[in-house]
Symmetry: C2
Subunit: 201 residues, 2 copies
Amino acid sequence: MGQRGRQKGSIGVKSKEALLAVAAEEFAKNGFHQTKVSTIVNRAGLTQPSFYLYFSSKEAIFQELVHTFRNKLINLTKESRLESNLDNSNLFTKISSGLLAVFQFFDDHRHLTRIGFFLADDAKEIKQAMVMQIAENLLAEQQDNYFRQDLDMVIVAECIIGAIERLTMTKLFTGEKSPQQLANEIVDIYLYGLQNTKSLK
Amino acid sequence: MGQRGRQKGSIGVKSKEALLAVAAEEFAKNGFHQTKVSTIVNRAGLTQPSFYLYFSSKEAIFQELVHTFRNKLINLTKESRLESNLDNSNLFTKISSGLLAVFQFFDDHRHLTRIGFFLADDAKEIKQAMVMQIAENLLAEQQDNYFRQDLDMVIVAECIIGAIERLTMTKLFTGEKSPQQLANEIVDIYLYGLQNTKSLK
DNA sequence: AAGATATATTACTTTGGAGTATTATCCTAC
DNA sequence: GTAGGATAATACTCCAAAGTAATATATCTT
C-alpha cells in the first residue's frame, strides 16, 4: 500500500490518470460539492498532498474534466460534419445519424457527459453552442424546402436539445434504450409529428 | 434597525415569510451550497439564531420551498384537468392551453420553479410525475385515433418535458417569449412535425 | 556511488460557514 | 405592574474539508 518515492518509469502520469478517472466517477455520482478531495485520493491510492502535485485545486481537476468533454464533443462535431457531406441518403437517415453520433458519444462517456453536460457551470454555453449548430443545419434544410417555412428553427433546436437532455438521463443512462433507438424515435417524432394523418376525426 | 423582542401582533409570521422570500431568491440565484444562511438572515434584517427559530436547518428551509412548489404544481394540475373537461375546442387548442397553464405557472413563480424544477434533488421525481401525467393524456388521445398509433407516448412525453425545461430556461425566463407563444410553438412542432407536407423533394 | 529529481507521505494549518448558549426586550394576560 | 411566553441579538462553538510545510524514499543520470 502506497509506496513512497518515484515508481518505475511511470513518471506519475499514472497517478494523474488515476485521479482523473476516480474524480470523473465521483463528480458524476455526487456532484462537485459533495465530492471530497480526500475521497478521490483515497480511491486512487494516494494521499492529499499528492493530489496538489497534479492539480492546483479541486476546481482545477473538475475544469480539466469539463474541458476534456468539450474537446471530445467538438471533435465529434467536426467528424460528423465531414461524414454528412458524403452522405446522400434520405432526410430521415441523415438527421438520425447525426443524433446517433451524439447519443453514442454520451453513452461512451457517461461520466464526462454528466459532468460537462449537466453539472458544469459552462454546461449552459456548451448546450447553447449545440443549439446554434443544430439550428444552422435545420435552417439549411428549411431553405431547401425540406421543412415547413413557418417554423422558428432556433426554437426547434431548443426543443431537440431539451429532448436529448431528457432522454439521455431517463432512457440512455438507465439502459432502457439504445442510442440508435433514441435517435430514430426523436427523428420520427419531430419529422412527422404526432397527428394521425389518416385521422378519422 | 433590528429591534429586539416581540413585535406588534406579527407573532413572527412576518419574519418567517421574509426569510422564505429571501431564501427563494438566493437559492434560485446561487443554488443550495452557494447560498449562506448568514446572507439570508442579513437580507431579511435578522440574525442567525432567529433563523433557527423558524427552520431547523438550511436544508429545512430549502425543502419547505420545494414543497411549496410541488403543492402549487399539483393544484395547477387538478384545476387544468377540470377545465379541459369542459373544453370542447379542437385538439391544438386543448393541448396548447394545458401547456400554457404550465408556462404561465412557471413564469409566475420563477424562483420556486428554479428551485423545485431545476435545483432540488426531488426535481427528478417531480418531472417523472409530470411525464407520466402527460403520457396518460396523450395515450387517451392516441386511443381516440387522434395520434399516430405507432408512437411510444412515454417517449413523446419525455421529449415534451425536455422541451419545456429547455424553453423555460432559455426563452421564458429571459423574457424572449411569452407563455402563450411557447405553448403554441411547442404544439405546432409536435403536432404537425417539421416536414414540409407540400414538399417538392 | 552520489547527487539530482520526481513522487510520495505524515502531520499540520486554515477557514468558511452551519449551528448554539446565553441574554435581552417586547407584548399579552392576569 | 408583574409573570410568562414569544421574538430577537451578542458572541460564541464546532467541524468538515481544502490546502500546506516539512520530510522521506525510489529511480535516473553521470
